[in-house]
Symmetry: C2
DNA sequence: AAGTAACCGTTACCTCAAGTAACACTTACC
DNA sequence: GGTAAGTGTTACTTGAGGTAACGGTTACTT
């Protein structure tokens, strides 16, 4: 009895969650070993950190770039979690922009090696197609583009520029952050403020040129969150 | 007679220029083979393209990253040559910004594989320290920072923001250009205009907040060229 | 109870690109 | 004629990514 109704064989289902969990475990191991030994770790190091030999690792990831990709996604997730509150926060626009930028900077400041691993160590050998960072940046940029587009449409403006805008903003913050991370010649708060100023002025100019006036101190209710 | 005054032995000097020329030759070969076979070429491919075997290549470059670096520098040189005129051009500020951005985009549009090789294929294996792209981006950013700083000082403004500004701008244009290059969903002119708009507004806002008013159509004599 | 589908894990190997050793020949300065 | 630079070759070493082949465990199926 029980289930003679059998789905395709319960032995197959038995592990469903387990595999996911195991992958996550290896991703954690990678992050740990990167934090310890710097961004130039190999598959063997990762396996060792997880207390296991290479083939086991390869049972869960087809490939180095597969692992790297997973790490990148995890990192993006962490990043998003940190930026989410800043995105949704109450307060003036100016302050919210600063908050978002600063959230980003604080994440890379706290995990410099992970950041380098994901951003620099990418491309996992051959295939330029399967770019690891690109995926993550695109995800972030897409999120941003959606938010921007919504706001533009809310003001009855052309939303065609939302995508280039989003990618421009992402690149701007990322590159400035990268520079800052390597030689820290100013405080984080300072940089956040500089970047937020640039963004704010650009945004203000854009709206102004469409005849929309906005006060930097206006709270401007969020249209929607990260979703 | 002649020169019994001997410098350290003329046999050493004899090749001085030659080595430089040879390096340049290999750099050209790399660029050629990358254009032909895509950004994922190995040392053997490069050597073959130059009609020579690997060890010869290694006589002139200590290392893969050494070659990559040289290629990056050459590419940066080309880029600078193309952006130079746009930097120095007469015309309104707005137009000049557009010109500079468009010059950049046109270069990556014409050499997509070289661009990918330099930007993505970087990091030449292990050493994250010796980052290939970073060098070039820093060079460009430094040039920009100098120009910006000079202008800011000319207006008696705090020039401390010039460096972050420069890195922000570089990242912005680079990332937007990257996105555009992969999926060309808008015309180059269109993107140039969007980016120039962002930059112009940011710049305008910065000056405005310091009480300086500037007309986008003002020619604004260049303080100095690339130098 | 026997079979089997999924996992656990190992050691020892293969592969391929980066980089090197060792060797031989050429040119022009000394 | 000696030698310091360069020209070039084939054949090797190295190291990291990735695989083969083996054996053990668990819990579902028959």
């Amino acid at each position: 009895m029980a289930r003679t109704v059998k789905g395709p064989d319960a032995r197959r289902e038995r592990w469903k969650g387990h595999r996911e969990q195991r992958r996550a475990e290896f991703v954690e191991a990678t992050i740990a070993v990167v934090a310890k030994k710097g961004p130039d770790v190999g598959m063997e190091d990762v396996a060792a950190e997880a207390g296991v030999s290479k083939p086991v690792l390869y049972r869960h990831f087809t490939d180095k770039s597969d692992l790297y990709l997973a790490v990148g996604q995890k990192a993006t997730e962490v990043l998003m979690e940190r930026m989410g509150p800043a995105l949704a926060a109450e307060g003036s626009i100016r302050d919210r922009i600063t908050g978002i930028v600063d959230a980003y900077l604080s994440v890379i400041e706290e995990n410099p090696n992970l950041y380098r691993f994901v951003v620099k160590g990418s491309f996992a050998d051959r295939p330029v197609e399967k770019d690891v960072v690109a995926e993550d940046k695109n995800l972030i940029a897409a999120t941003l583009a959606r938010i921007l587009g919504d706001y533009l449409r809310a003001f009855d403006m052309d939303s065609g520029g939302a995508e280039p805008w989003a990618h421009a903003l992402v690149g701007m913050v990322q590159n400035a952050g990268d520079w800052w991370l390597e030689r820290q010649t100013m405080s984080r708060a300072n940089l956040s403020d500089y970047l937020a100023t640039i963004i704010w002025h650009a945004l203000d100019g854009l709206l102004r040129s469409a005849g929309v006036e906005i006060d930097p101190a206006t709270p401007l209710t969020p249209l929607r969150l990260v979703d």
